[in-house]
């Protein structure tokens, strides 16, 4: 391994890219980004590199694992049973998570902002693709006043968000999740619930989601913040 010392600026840049700076250090680095072009260029390069590693290597992997080709005899039996159990668990989790009769799912919804007309006023389900979250399913259930729509967004690193939309006068469910944000748009009440997402990242995503439901689409400039919040944040823990 190389023995040359790494400069303090380099260490600062990498720590910034990895989300390791304290709020005060982060603010100082952010102000330097605005004034130091070389620093900003190096930061952009490192962010791009990290994003390439995260997206190119991590997100392309399929969830299901094939049966092993090479086995350790000592754990062959336990391994086989366990692998089947894990695979079954994955399939079961996906099956439970999906709506048997989804309004729409997958790329069609992820590709564009969708307005649903089944609620009393059009509900907006934003495209959270820039945040690395894909709309996986939508479920409608009867509520105290009309239908309740629950949209589930999934990320590749264990992140899950649920966006619940219902009539503003309906009782709002508040169970579960690790973080939550509520807001109203006209006659509709929105509730965004996170499962294991780091609070800083959720704050960025929730703010963007709220703005999108008010404006009908993600406002200009939000994409970059969502991407940065995703890349610099740790994976979600459930």
């Amino acid at each position: 391994m190389a023995t040359e010392r790494t400069s303090p600026d380099e260490l600062l840049l990498h720590a910034l890219v990895d989300g390791e700076l304290s709020p005060r250090e982060h603010a100082a680095a952010a102000s330097r980004l605005a004034t130091d072009r070389d620093f900003a260029r190096a930061y952009a390069t490192l962010m791009r590199l990290k994003a390439s590693v995260v997206e190119g290597v991590a997100e392309a992997e399929p969830i299901a694992l094939p049966l092993p080709r090479r086995r350790d005899r000592r754990i062959a039996l336990a391994g086989g049973l366990s692998a089947v159990a894990v695979a079954f668990g994955i399939v079961l989790a996906i099956a439970i998570h999906r709506n048997p009769e989804p309004i729409a799912s997958g790329p069609e919804l992820a590709a564009q902002t969708v307005k649903l007309v089944s609620l009393s006023q059009a509900a907006v389900l934003p495209d959270l693709g820039p945040a690395g979250l894909k709309l996986a399913s939508t479920v409608t259930q009867p509520g105290t006043k009309g239908e309740v729509l629950t949209a589930t967004y999934l990320g590749p690193r264990g992140c899950r968000l649920e966006l619940r939309v219902q009539h503003a006068e309906s009782d709002v469910a508040t169970a579960g999740g690790t973080d939550r944000r509520n807001w109203r748009v006209g006659e509709l009440a929105y509730q965004l619930t996170a499962y294991g997402m780091p609070p800083e990242r959720f704050a960025v995503v929730a703010a963007a989601t709220e703005r999108a439901t008010r404006a009908g689409t993600l406002p200009d400039g939000v994409d970059r913040r969502l991407r940065e919040a995703r890349i610099s944040a740790p994976p979600c823990l459930t």
Binding site: H14, V53, V57, D72, G158
Partner: protein, 168 residues
């Protein structure tokens, strides 16, 4: 061992495969390795209950298995198999992906490991330091060196993302 202990394992599998793949170089071996590591984890008698500790524990099992595999390959002098290539997927994003993969394959295993732990595993510097058993300052300098090595490897590779040619 409680059932709840392994509740996070399915959601960790993609990252574990990507982590193993980054260290040992090919996807098929990485999947086999993670499957065996998952079996070991499920058979363990003592399992961390706290989610972060559990994640670090499982990654450590995969990390140890990956380095065992690298050592075994060195003894067998076996080169990692070339990744399957689909000639008709050569768009900018795919070439960028290949470029990063080739860059990762070209740098030292220790560099690949630190990048895999922080960028793919998503571990903080403190968690990575604890996992590897070095001070946090060492992690800071190692990740800087590793990324510099990766950038140099990409710079030296012959593959470049194609630029679209409008107006020619």
């Amino acid at each position: 061992m409680s059932r709840k202990s392994h509740a996070d394992l399915p959601s960790l599998l993609p990252r574990l495969v990507a982590f193993a793949r980054t260290i040992i170089g090919d996807a098929d071996s990485a999947r086999d390795l993670v499957q065996e590591a998952a079996a070991r984890a499920l058979a363990a008698r003592q399992v961390p209950e706290e989610p972060r500790a559990y994640r670090a524990w499982v990654f450590k099992i995969v990390r140890n298995a990956a380095f065992d595999e690298l050592r075994a390959r060195a003894l067998r002098r076996q080169e990692p198999p070339a990744p399957a290539v689909d000639l008709w997927r050569y768009d900018d994003a795919y070439i960028a992906k290949i470029t990063v993969e080739q860059g990762l394959a070209a740098i030292a295993p220790a560099h690949r490991e630190i990048i895999a732990l922080i960028d793919i595993g998503g571990f903080s510097y403190a968690e990575t330091a604890e996992m590897i058993g070095v001070p946090i300052g060492t992690i800071m300098s190692r990740i800087a060196r590793a990324r510099t090595a990766l950038l140099q490897a990409i710079e030296e590779s012959s593959i470049r993302p194609l630029k679209s040619s409008h107006g020619h």
